[in-house]
């Protein structure tokens, strides 16, 4: 035996340690895999041994291998064994490995729950610490503080929903640990637990909030971190914490924490512009004083957020702040540190959105960044460019970008540049472009960029510009014609490049065809199109080619026929007939169809030509009409005119209108499908701006069609968006042709250059050449007159006719035509997008933290799993909750009193009177909100301490005033009955909170009346002042009891009993929510409950917008003995006037004899006191205030009392919830 032990020990000495393993791996670089396989075998062997030391060693080695990418999930169970070791060394290794390789789907995790719980409660502080570390990766921690710490660290890495739920309570317990180390880790871990187990947030949040004021700075900053994370995801719930953070911000000097706080404010500011104003000054101070760049950057970011929110809301002059930010950012951008440069540009981009002018001052530094070596910086600078661009400098900036395109290595950046150039130029419907010829030249130049992905984008731009800017068409057509004639150059490159850049050909073909009247040499363009290398072009482009060949053919034909040049006509027909068949072979169905149709048409035409018949007029009629830009969504948006039945014949079949048109119609429909927006041109517009549209749709006889055309022409004339431009523009084609001849005479050929690059097309005015031309306008003009020709090249370019074309082109900048009555749907779409947004884990954490805790909201306590099951159903199932309270016998300290209440309330009336009155917090929702208002309205805080003082004094003066009002209102009612009702209502309210509605509800009414001690806070104020009958009892109230809700009786009859509670909405200060509990106290089911109140001037119920006057339907039925709650919202104008609303509840009672309608009237009261706000002044301060005589208002009520002044004051403080 002893011998074996010794032998084992000797074996173990030869075990590999971690160091040996690492050395071994380094020494076996050549056959690493083999070496490691051998090691893993050894490790497996070691894991089978009993000794935990050996196991730990093995696990440690595994964790190293895991980092190298080897799968060690097979050892999960062994890891847990090591985690469970009693030795800290081993535990630490175990947790480390677990945190590295466990994830939320590791199945053995469920085995760790109890072990972790043990570790968390360990006496070794580091045990707990390690456990916490683990949990943090999962999420927990031990009495050795580091045990707990380790467990916490582990948890942080591998929290699963189960672990989070089971261990949440343990972690929360650690929040009150005496050691800051544990508290700190527990706080951080909470965030992970919240994420996995959102139900824990509300019960835990008050504890977390306390930690903001923890004496230990580490714990404090941990709490800030966690709340900051929470708040960034769901800012609105944390608005009420702003004052606390504001104080922290102005007092703390810990930069790490400051950054987090300022970031948190950045998230809150968009919700509350007033907060932004308050922040500006301290932030500006920080910006000026801090030397830490990270803090500076964060401040600037938040100031930007403030400026954005402020600029959206109230006007105000914040130029100073903007200037400061921009100036600081300018410094960052100019810094030699690339990181600062990058961030400076990033932040500058945010300012740009709201204050573009401020940024423009830094145009030069931004432009300089375009030359930076670092691509990410260049791209950031590009982001900013569109804000720098103006009409004056756009040419300069684009020229700079173009030169970058040439120099750019890496096609990604080049493409990025390309798309940016286009974005800048097309920004806001070409806002900055004054010279469209220049822009077309830019676009043409861009087609030369090799390997671009943006061919389609360029094509779209060319088309768009040509359609929108009438005066550019001539120039554009000439350029596009050149592109067509040199298509083989564009199609030269690789297949991929070809498919991208050939999109440009599509645009070119379409433009040449559509604006064929501008084409100089129709014959040559037509030939080039017919002779194009069909096989090299994608099908959809071929299809466009066919269509536009037809257009050009029509033009050429009419020209030849006019001249009676039958030879030309014949050769044209022959050309078509010989070349078109190749298009019939295309793989694009659309293209095939078009080619076949066209070919057949030409054959027919040829037959007619053989008889010397002129047919050109008919052919050109095919393509008559003008295209306008149509909004992308227009087609979808065409409203169906009332009375239009799409299924009936518009005209009886035989009575068809002009035969030629109807024949051509189908052809046209699949005609210029270049861009869907253009479909249906020439045809009567599918929608009309005229009021008579409807009629026309009903009976559009040919006559009316004509009228419509005329009408449309008139519309065009009166439409401000429609470009009327010069005579050329509005004229129909024939006139255009005529005018074209004029311009032809002036036209000159450009000096064709020799091929420079494979993509250089002779004659195409690239950007550089265009600029050259511009610069030497004089010589250029002379050149025109000379009409030089060079080398017999066909490339003829009509230059910019400077005399004819205004420098400022008129642009149709409208978004495009939209049918009448169609609304822009941008907003809707955004809305749906948001809704469709993928499941956000943080959504679950979006909950109102100011609402009082419900009875059923608590962390599951480990020993009572049964109770925790109820947590699956948070609110609704109230009846279950009663049982639950009995079951959970080990509630946490602060909750204890709450749980005792149910029992107490069942005691006899007298006992109840003796009970200490229940806790104050009345409508806690109201408090933070109002508190915020005070805090925010405190005129933009001078210095923080002063602000605080001001805050206090404001409250002082306001609160008594408020107190007074309800008293007055009370006088209107009979006091006696009033008090009775009050008691009964509070009593019943309690019951409902306790979730034992029906049995108790039937109890004798007398019982309620005596329960005078159990006043709700809002009523307590009145009670104390009016009656002062039971002051002593009330004074003895314990102050730190948990929040409870206070329901008042609203109305009651044999069937239903309504109780309500008033809550001030956190979302809107001017809203009040009234939560009404409907309890069915009768023996029958109640259905179709409708709730209605008569609005007063001051208070209005928020109803369904669809039915602004009617009753609100309560969305549930009440079976016998069931109660349910529904919240009604009210908009309140002035909160300093007590409100009383009359209302009616109607419902159907389901009896054996059918349903009987019933109704019940009620008065809904909103006393001012429900809006009162707690202030943080002591009772002494309050008494001082009262005696100082500085109050704006004083109570008019007097009563005799034997109590000392102090007692009375204390009473007042308590009942008005001013602690």
């Amino acid at each position: 035996m002893a011998l074996r032990k010794v032998r084992n020990n000797i074996d173990r000495i030869f075990d590999k340690s971690l160091t040996d393993l690492i050395r071994g791996i380094r020494n076996n670089k050549d056959n690493e895999a083999k070496y490691i396989a051998a090691c893993i075998d050894e490790i497996k062997h070691e894991l089978r041994q009993d000794s935990t030391v050996v196991k730990t060693n093995a696990i440690e080695k595994l964790s190293y291998l895991q980092m190298m990418g080897y799968d060690i999930s097979w050892a999960s169970f062994n890891i847990i064994e090591v985690m469970a070791s009693t030795k800290y060394t081993e535990k630490r290794i175990g947790y480390l490995t677990a945190s590295q390789c466990f994830h939320d789907e590791t199945d053995v995790l469920m085995l760790t729950t109890n072990m972790m719980r043990k570790d968390l409660s360990s006496t070794n502080m580091y045990d707990a610490g390690v456990a916490l570390g683990g949990l943090a990766c999962f999420d927990l921690s031990s009495t050795n503080m580091y045990d707990a710490g380790v467990a916490l660290g582990g948890l942080a890495c591998f929290v699963t929903t189960d672990l989070a739920r089971d261990l949440a309570n343990d972690v929360v317990t650690l929040l009150s640990s005496s050691r800051p180390y544990i508290r700190k880790r527990a706080v951080l871990l909470l965030y992970k637990i919240f994420l996995k187990y959102p139900e824990s947030l509300r019960p835990t949040f008050p504890r977390l909030k306390e930690k903001l004021e923890d004496p230990d700075p580490g714990v404090q900053s941990a709490a800030v971190n966690v709340i900051c994370e929470l708040a960034r995801k769901n800012p609105k719930n944390y608005l009420s914490l702003a004052p606390v953070f504001f104080k922290l911000m102005t007092t703390s000097s810990n930069n790490w924490m400051l950054i987090k706080i300022i970031k948190l404010f950045g998230a809150l500011v968009p919700l509350e512009p007033r907060l932004g104003k308050k922040l500006l000054e301290p932030l500006t101070n920080l910006i000026n004083s801090t030397s830490a760049m990270s803090l500076l950057y964060e401040c600037i970011n938040t100031v930007i957020a403030v400026l954005i929110s402020v600029s959206a809301g109230t006007p105000g002059d914040h130029t100073a702040s903007i200037q400061l930010c921009v100036q600081k950012l300018g410094v960052l951008i100019e810094d030699s540190d690339q990181n600062l440069k990058y961030l400076g540009l990033l932040a500058m981009g945010k300012i740009l959105q709201t204050h573009p002018k401020a940024v423009q001052a830094h145009k030069d530094i931004v432009l300089a960044c375009l030359d930076d070596k670092d691509e990410s910086i260049r791209i950031r600078a590009l982001d900013l460019l569109y804000g720098m661009v103006s009409k004056k400098n756009i040419m300069e900036i684009v020229r700079k970008l173009m030169s970058h395109v040439d120099g750019a290595e890496g096609s990604n950046y080049r493409d990025e540049l390309l798309s940016r150039i286009i974005q800048i130029c097309s920004h806001n419907n070409y806002q900055y472009i004054t010279n469209f010829e220049w822009y077309v030249s830019v676009l043409v130049e861009l087609t030369k960029v090799e390997g671009t992905k943006h061919g389609a984008m360029i094509a779209e731009q060319v088309q768009d510009v040509t359609v929108r800017v009438q005066s550019i068409r001539h120039f554009a057509v000439s350029q596009m014609a050149l592109l067509i004639e040199n298509a083989h150059l564009l199609l030269a490159g690789s297949a991929q490049h070809r498919s991208n850049v050939s999109e440009v050909l599509l645009a070119a073909a379409w433009i040449c065809g559509e604006y064929s009247e501008h084409v100089q040499n129709v014959q040559s363009v037509l030939e080039s199109m017919l002779k194009a290398k069909v096989s090299m072009m994608p099908g959809h482009i071929q299809s466009t080619f066919v269509q536009n060949i037809a257009k050009l053919y029509a033009v050429q034909l009419s020209q030849s026929e006019q001249e009676d040049d039958w030879d030309a006509v014949e050769s044209l027909d022959n050309l078509m007939l010989s070349k078109l068949p190749q298009f019939e072979q295309t793989d694009n169905l659309e293209g095939q169809e078009r080619a076949c149709t066209l070919l057949e048409m030409v054959r027919e035409i040829e037959k007619l030509h053989a008889q010397r018949e002129k047919i050109a007029a008919d052919v050109t009629a095919l393509f008559e009409g003008e295209l306008n830009p149509v909004a992308a969504k227009a087609q979808r948006k065409v409203p169906l005119p009332p009375g239009l039945d799409l299924d009936t014949w518009i005209n009886e079949p035989p009575a068809e209108s002009s035969s030629s048109e109807s024949e051509e119609e189908p052809e046209r429909k699949n005609g210029p499908t270049v861009r869907s927006e253009f479909a249906g041109f020439g045809a009567p517009r599918p929608f009309g701006e005229e009021a008579e549209t409807k009629k026309k749709y009903e009976q559009p006889s040919p006559d009316e069609m004509k009228k419509m055309r005329a009408q449309r022409q008139a519309d065009i004339e009166s439409n401000p968006y429609y470009v009327k431009g010069d005579a050329k523009a509005t004229a129909k084609r024939p006139t255009k042709l005529a005018s074209r001849k004029d311009s032809d005479e002036k036209a000159v050929e450009a000096t064709p250059l020799d091929l420079q690059s494979p993509l250089e097309i002779p004659g195409v005015v690239g950007l550089n050449k265009y600029m050259e031309q511009q610069e030497s306008t004089l010589s250029w003009k002379k050149a025109k007159k000379e009409k030089r020709k060079k080398k017999g090249k066909k490339g003829r370019v009509s230059s910019s006719d400077d005399e004819d074309l205004p420098v400022v082109h008129q642009v149709n900048r409208a978004d495009g035509e939209m049918p009448e009555g169609a609304k822009s749907t941008d907003d809707e779409e955004e809305g749906t997008k948001k809704k469709n947004g993928t499941g956000d884990p943080y959504k679950a954490l979006d909950m109102d933290l100011d609402q009082p805790l419900r009875e059923d909201e608590r962390l599951p306590v480990a020993q009572h799993r049964v109770a925790s099951l109820d947590l699956g159903h948070p609110a609704g199932l109230k009846s279950k909750a009663d049982k639950k309270t009995k079951k959970s016998k080990t509630p946490k300290a602060p909750k204890a009193p709450k749980e005792e209440k149910p029992k107490k309330s069942k005691k006899s009336a007298k006992e109840v009177v003796d009970e200490p009155p229940p806790p104050p917090p009345p409508a806690p929702t109201a408090e933070p909100q109002d508190d915020m208002d005070f805090w925010l309205s405190a005129s933009s805080a001078p210095a923080p301490p002063a602000a605080a003082e001001e805050k206090v004094s404001k409250k002082k003066s306001r609160s008594p005033e408020k107190e007074k009002k309800p008293k007055k209102s009370e006088k209107h009612h009979g006091k006696e009955s009033k008090r009775k009702q009050r008691h009964s209502s509070t009593r019943s309210g309690e019951e409902l909170v306790e979730n034992a509605p029906h049995h108790l509800a039937v109890h004798d009414k007398n019982e309620y009346e005596v329960a005078s001690g159990v006043c709700t806070p809002s009523k307590q104020t009145n009670g104390a002042v009016e009656g002062s009958a039971t002051p002593k009892k009330e004074v003895s109230t314990p102050t730190n009891l948990p929040p409870m809700t206070s329901y008042h009786l609203l109305a009651e009859n044999a069937f239903v009993r309504m109780t309500y509670e008033t809550r001030v909405s956190t979302a809107d200060a001017n809203q009040v929510a009234s939560a009404v509990i409907f309890a069915n106290v009768g023996a029958n089911e109640i259905r179709q409950i409708e709730f209605n109140v008569l609005d007063s001037l001051n208070t209005k119920m928020l109803r369904d917008p669809a039915a602004p006057q009617g009753a609100l339907k309560v969305p549930f039925n009440l079976p016998q003995g069931v109660s349910n709650e529904h919240v009604f919202r009210f908009a309140v104008e002035a909160i300093n006037v007590p409100q009383k609303l009359r209302g009616t509840l109607t419902f159907l009672v389901e009896t054996e004899n059918g349903s009987v309608p019933e109704k019940i009237d009620f008065h809904l009261k909103f006393p001012c006191v429900s809006f009162t706000v707690p202030a943080t002044i002591g009772s002494d301060a309050f008494s001082e205030l009262i005696s100082s005589g500085e109050l704006e208002a004083s109570s008019s009520l007097q009563f005799a009392t034997t109590d000392s002044l102090n007692d009375v004051v204390r009473n007042l403080c308590f009942h008005g919830h001013f602690t």
């Binding site: 971690l18 935990t52 800290y88 060394t89 580490g218 760049m293 990270s294 950057y297 440069k341």
Partner: protein, 157 residues
């Protein structure tokens, strides 16, 4: 919140990885591989920030080691750089002018230090002293255990 932290050498060998959000192993490997290649190809004069999917990656090179962190989009990049720097300082203090080999052979220590500094992706302790104190205390705890455990386990006690 920090999403993960990676340490890797100039040769692209991973030296340390800490994930603060759960990813599948495959995903982890993919992210690591992609980031390592991207970062290694970046030139020294380039800025230290990358946009990677929906994250921002912040990296910094110290001697032969790259420290790389991923943070959320709204996080402060400069603070992240400071986190990295603080971690390096801590390593330096602990090992005494740290080098890559220290981290290779004592990788568990490097993890322990990281765990004391960051927890669940948040800064746990901003004071260097406090972190080192906690580490020292835990090391002491281990030392106290070891001799006793060693003799016991080896049958010599």
């Amino acid at each position: 919140m920090l999403q993960f932290m990676l340490l890797f050498s100039r040769q692209g060998k991973l030296r340390l990885q800490k994930w603060y959000t759960a990813y599948q192993d495959k995903m982890k490997k993919k992210i690591t591989r992609e980031l390592v290649t991207t970062i290694l190809t970046r030139k020294p004069k380039m800025c230290a920030f990358l946009e990677y999917k929906e994250l921002k990656v912040v990296y910094k090179r110290y001697a032969s080691l790259y420290f790389c962190c991923a943070v959320e989009e709204t996080d402060n990049e400069l603070m992240c750089l400071e986190v990295i720097h603080r971690y390096v300082e801590l390593l330096d203090k602990y090992f005494g002018s740290v080098c890559e080999l220290d981290i290779i052979f004592n990788f568990e220590k490097a993890y322990f230090i990281l765990d004391e500094f960051l927890l669940a992706g948040e800064i746990q302790e901003t004071s260097k002293k406090q972190v080192l104190k906690a580490i020292a205390a835990q090391d002491l705890l281990q030392e106290e255990e070891t001799p006793q455990g060693f003799f016991e386990d080896h049958g010599l006690g």
